[in-house]
Symmetry: C2
Subunit: 241 residues, 2 copies
C-alpha cells in the first residue's frame, strides 16, 4: 500500500516539500484531500483523520500516513521518508546534517510567511499591511541575504563539490531548497534576483533540481498547484522591492 | 571526551533545551561560551568556531560539538543526543513521534519570541511595541490555548497514561515542554495560569519534570541562568493580561 499525504488541496504550502520528495523518490502516494469526497477525499476527511487519530494526532497538516503510522511536521516527515525514498545518505552524520539544513529551510520558510502575516496568522493580510511592509523590508534586506548566504557557504564547503548540499547525490534538502528559491522568486521577484546574483551556487542548484526528470515532469503536471495568494509565498508587489 | 555545547552565555534561550537534556542524561559537557576566554571560552571563541567550521557550519547557536561532529539546530541536537542519553525510546515510531513533538514545541517557542519581536529580530523591542502588543494578544488568546491544548490531548491519549508525552519514561520532549511552560509562566504569568488551568496534564507534567532529582539540582545550581529580558521569554507586563 502506498503513502497517504494529507494537506490543504488548494496550495503548495508546506505540503509541497513532501510532495517533491514523494515525486523524486518515485513513491506510490495519494494526495488525500485532493481526491473527491465520495472517494474519501476533501478537507473534511483530512481534518477528521487528524482530530480522530487516537495515538499520535498531528498538530496541523501536512501529515503522512504510512500503514498504521501517522507522521506530522514537515521536516519530520522528510526525516522519516528520506531513507525510504533514497533521498538521504547512509551515515548518521550525513543524515543529521541533512536534517539540520532542512530545519534551517523551515525557519526561512516561516519567516517568508510572516512577511505577510507578522501579527496574527488567522487574520487577513489586509488587517496587518503596515506591519507586513516593515517585516518584509527586514526580510528582504537582512534575512534573505543571511539565509541564502549560509546555503551558498555550505555549497562552497561541500568536499564533494557545490553540486548538492550533502555529498554528490540529491537529498530531500536539495528538493526543499529548490522549493524555497522558487517561492522566493514568486513572492519577491526583485529582491530574490538581487540576492541570488550574490549566491550563484544556490541559484545553480535550484535550476538543476528543477530539471531533474521526475521533478520537471511533476512541475509540468496538474499535480503541481500554481503559486497563489493563499499559500506561504504570496506576490504582493508592495512587499517586494 | 565530553560534549561541547556552544550557546550565548547570558541567556537560557534555545540552548536551555539542550542543557536540560545534558543534565538529565548525566552527560559530561562543557558550556563553552560560559568559560573564561583564557580557557578557550567566551562569545568570540564560539563565533569563531561557528564561522570557521570547514564542513558543517551551523547557521546559529546553539550547536553541539561531539568529537569531530558539529550539530546545529536545537531539535536536531536533541534528535542526536536522545538515544545517547537515554532520553528517547528504542523504536523508530517512538523516536519520530518524540521529534514531532519537539518540533511543535520549537514552533511555539518561536511564536513566544515573536510576541516581543514581530517585525525585526535585530531591532529592539522598543522599536516594535505597538506591533508586539497586537501579536501578544493573539498569542495569549489563540495560540497558547491551541498549542497547550494539543499537548493536553497528546497526554490524554498516551496509552501508557498521562505521566509522560511518550510511553512511561521521560524523554527530551518532556524536558522541553517543562522549559516551555516555565518560560510562559515567566513571560505571561496571568495568561499562562489561565491556560494551564485548562490543561492540567501539561501543568502536572511540568511540575513533575521540575522535581526530577537531576533537573531540580540543575535548577538550584548556578549553571541555570535566570530568565531575563535578553532571552526568548521576556516579562513585559504590557504583553500579558
Amino acid at each position: 500500500m502506498g503513502y497517504e499525504l494529507h494537506y490543504w488541496p488548494m496550495i503548495q504550502g508546506r505540503g509541497e516539500f513532501v510532495r517533491l520528495a514523494l515525486e523524486q523518490g518515485g513513491a506510490d502516494y495519494v494526495d488525500v484531500a485532493r481526491e473527491p469526497p465520495d472517494a474519501g477525499g476533501g478537507i473534511d476527511a483530512m481534518m477528521a483523520r487528524m482530530e480522530d487519530e487516537p495515538l499520535r494526532p498531528p498538530f496541523a497538516p501536512p501529515f503522512l500516513v504510512d500503514g498504521s503510522l501517522v507522521v506530522g511536521q514537515t521536516a519530520n516527515i522528510l526525516l522519516y521518508l528520506g531513507p525510504r525514498l533514497g533521498l538521504v545518505g547512509e551515515s548518521e552524520a550525513g543524515r543529521i546534517w541533512t536534517h539540520q539544513m532542512q530545519l534551517t529551510i523551515a525557519d526561512m520558510v516561516l519567516e517568508a510567511h510572516d512577511t505577510h502575516h507578522p501579527i496574527a496568522v488567522m487574520d487577513y493580510y489586509e488587517q496587518q499591511r503596515p506591519e507586513a511592509a516593515r517585516r518584509a523590508a527586514d526580510f528582504r534586506e537582512n534575512r534573505m541575504p543571511k539565509f541564502l548566504g549560509w546555503f551558498e557557504r555550505v555549497l562552497a564547503r561541500n568536499p564533494a563539490g557545490p553540486g548538492y548540499l550533502v555529498g554528490d547525490a540529491v537529498s530531500y534538502a536539495d528538493l526543499s531548497l529548490f522549493q524555497l528559491v522558487d517561492g522566493l522568486r514568486y513572492a519577491f521577484p526583485k529582491a530574490s534576483e538581487r540576492v541570488l546574483a550574490e549566491t550563484p551556487r544556490v541559484a545553480a542548484l535550484a535550476q538543476k533540481v528543477g530539471r531533474l526528470p521526475r521533478i520537471a515532469a511533476y512541475l509540468a503536471s496538474d499535480r503541481r498547484i500554481a503559486f497563489n495568494e493563499q499559500g506561504i509565498f504570496r506576490r504582493y508587489p508592495e512587499l517586494d522591492g
